[in-house]
């Protein structure tokens, strides 16, 4: 048996519902395009994992909505959360500071001052954000050697690339290498991304300012997640130790 229906309860003026509907449709389109206009991946491919670009229709349509909803209102987002990713390494940072004379800053006990982030005694919310600071430096990228010869412009130098150079077992240091000298016989060469380097310099400047130091050396400790296969087989323990990478000294 059907109940007697009640009339729709909207009693707004027609012009207002039309205008409101137009705004809503624009808003929903902006939100939807924010989700679609994002790269996806990494997907498996013949050359390893690669990112797929956003669909062209979404990218082209998203122009104005990216500005209004992404930049101005900040409500358009891909919702491709970093925390959805699995197997990303964890990281913490150690920072050593030096004064104008090049001597290490000391703590109250007269020992060299070593700052650690996340700080153990910070409250959990601050520690969580400091964890994000550290994790942002664990964003290395593969460094591809050039396929052809790189020739410097007249009067110029060959561009350099930053790469991690092993200096001891599970210890790396940052080295700027001319592009043509990137080793071709060593697979899996990694280097920090440009964003990572920008952040490392910014962190160093901030810590120098806040501690009155002249220079700071940021040392990154990363560790991979123990894989589930350990439930069934033994793996060499070295796989689960810290990888220590130094960004070198950055002056204020």
């Amino acid at each position: 048996m059907r109940h007697s229906p009640s009339p729709p309860r909207s009693s707004l003026p027609r012009w207002l519902t039309l205008a409101g509907s137009a705004l809503l449709l624009y808003h929903l389109a902006a939100v939807g395009l924010g989700v679609l206009d994002a790269p996806s991946g990494p997907w498996p491919g013949p050359m390893g994992g690669g990112m797929a670009i956003a669909p062209a229709f979404a990218h082209n349509l998203a122009g104005p909505t990216t500005y209004t909803h992404g930049k101005l209102l900040k409500v358009a987002h891909s919702y491709h959360y970093f925390t959805n990713r699995t197997g990303t390494p964890s990281a913490f940072l150690e920072v050593r500071l030096k004064d104008n004379k090049g001597e290490a800053l000391k703590n109250a006990r007269g020992e060299p001052l070593v700052l650690r982030f996340p700080e153990k005694d910070a409250n959990p919310w601050v520690r969580h954000r400091q964890g994000i600071l550290a994790r942002q430096l664990a964003d290395d990228l593969p460094v591809e050697p050039p396929t052809g010869e790189v020739i410097a412009p007249p009067g110029g130098r060959v561009p350099t690339v930053d790469l991690w150079e092993p200096v001891a077992d599970r210890r790396l240091t940052l080295r700027a290498v001319p592009q043509h000298l990137v080793p071709r016989d060593r697979p899996g060469i990694m280097g920090p991304s440009a964003w990572e380097m920008l952040l490392a310099r910014a962190y160093a400047r901030h810590l120098c300012r806040s501690h009155g130091a002249a220079s700071a050396e940021i040392v990154r400790h990363t560790r991979e997640t123990v894989p589930p296969v350990v439930l069934f087989n033994d793996l060499p323990p070295a796989n689960f130790e810290d990888l220590v990478a130094s960004y070198g000294e950055v002056s204020r």
Binding site: H3, P5, P8, S10, G32, H80, S90, R129, R209, L231
Partner: protein, 364 residues
């Protein structure tokens, strides 16, 4: 079988009628008010712990300083891209002045308290959105929950900017500052007045939240570990906190352990991807909606180390409650010791809302 409110509308016009009914029906604004209180508490929970670290995290002399902004802009310009830094923030106006940053921070805390209480909500809701968008604009510490904070603040701002604007007999002060009955402890004499503005805001939150939940669920499918049911492995065995020996201790029950973990991962995926199919349904589906939110709350807070996500998931899921369901929750609140003062048990039941609308002119 119950009839829809649009059943008496000619068939060709039904989609339009359903659209208007979904978005523009005047409803009891109880849901908007309750969501405001919960959201305000979450905003405070998010901002207050930074009290001793304000300049460090948010100032232009902190972790991400002015020079970093300049470098990001020039790097982006080199590749003809947009700089990966937020376009605006109230804190940019403070420059490197740490005192100004502190002043803005504490003023923002006051705004959030006023907003939570429901004082001058039209103004404080707009300011709350500005506060949330500003304090999430620090490129050094982007967190996945930040977009949900902004989304919540934005939709509540829309709701309070619209609430009661089309009603008759509203004073100029109320039109500018917002309705007085939004105050947390107010006891409106004439009962709640139905509002289309409140409905628009809550619907916006519902739709946007559903998009976020589904998009995040689909994104998980881009990673093999989620397909293998190992999506929670990394979170449960954080590298600096877990040793190989601890994991080896689970060897005797490895199959059971992995089966339960993969079941949890697939349940999460199913809940997220099917979210729109049950979020708007009532009856037992509420158990799926709110049960999932409760599990998300517990999991994010105590297992996955994802602060803020749990409360935000709960608020997002509660936004699907109807005004009648909110009133029933009020009734439950009234019998809990110490919380009776917060429950508006003397408010008229939803059935009287329409009448109140006619009598008072209604908040549309």
């Amino acid at each position: 079988m119950s009839a829809s409110r649009t059943d008496n509308v000619p068939l060709p016009s039904r989609p339009v009628a359903a659209w208007n009914d979904f978005w523009f029906a005047a409803v009891d604004p109880v849901g908007l008010h309750r969501l405001r209180v919960l959201a305000g508490l979450v905003f405070l929970l998010w901002l207050l712990p930074f009290a001793g670290h304000v300049d460090t995290f948010f100032g232009l002399g902190g972790w991400f300083d002015q020079q970093a902004f300049r470098e990001a802009a020039s790097e982006a310009a080199r590749f003809r891209e947009e700089p990966p830094v937020p376009m605006w923030s109230l804190l940019y106006l403070c420059g490197t002045n740490a005192t100004a940053v502190q002043a803005v921070y504490w003023a923002s805390v006051v705004v959030l308290v006023l907003f939570t209480l429901g004082l001058w909500p039209r103004v404080t809701a707009a300011l709350t959105y500005v506060v949330v968008a500003s304090f999430t604009a620090t490129p050094a510490v982007p967190y996945d929950a930040d977009p949900l904070l902004i989304l919540l603040a934005f939709t509540l701002m829309v709701g309070y900017l619209l609430l009661g604007q089309f009603a008759r007999g509203v004073s100029l002060a109320e039109r500018l500052l917002g309705p007085r009955d939004a105050f947390l402890l107010s006891r409106p004499a004439e009962g709640p007045r139905a509002s289309a503005g409140a409905n628009v805001a809550v619907r916006l939150l519902q739709v946007h939240f559903a998009v976020a939940v589904v998009a995040s669920g689909l994104h998980k499918l881009q990673f093999g570990d989620w397909w293998s049911g190992l999506g929670y492995w990394s979170a449960l065995h954080r590298p600096f906190e877990t040793t190989v020996e601890e994991i080896k201790a689970n060897r005797p029950m490895a199959d059971t352990y992995l089966s339960l973990m993969s079941l949890a991962a697939y349940a999460t995926l199913a809940w997220q991807i099917a979210f729109p199919a049950f979020a708007w349904r009532r009856g037992l589906w509420r158990v799926v909606l709110l049960g999932g939110a409760a599990l998300a709350f517990v999991g994010c807070a105590f297992v996955l180390d994802l602060p803020l996500f749990g409360p935000l998931m709960v608020i997002g899921c509660l936004s699907y409650l109807t005004p009648a369901e909110w009133r029933r929750l009020d009734g439950l609140l009234a019998v809990m010791p110490g919380l009776r003062g917060l429950a508006r048990v003397e408010s008229p039941p939803p059935a009287k809302v329409a009448k109140a609308t006619v009598v008072s002119g209604g908040h549309r």
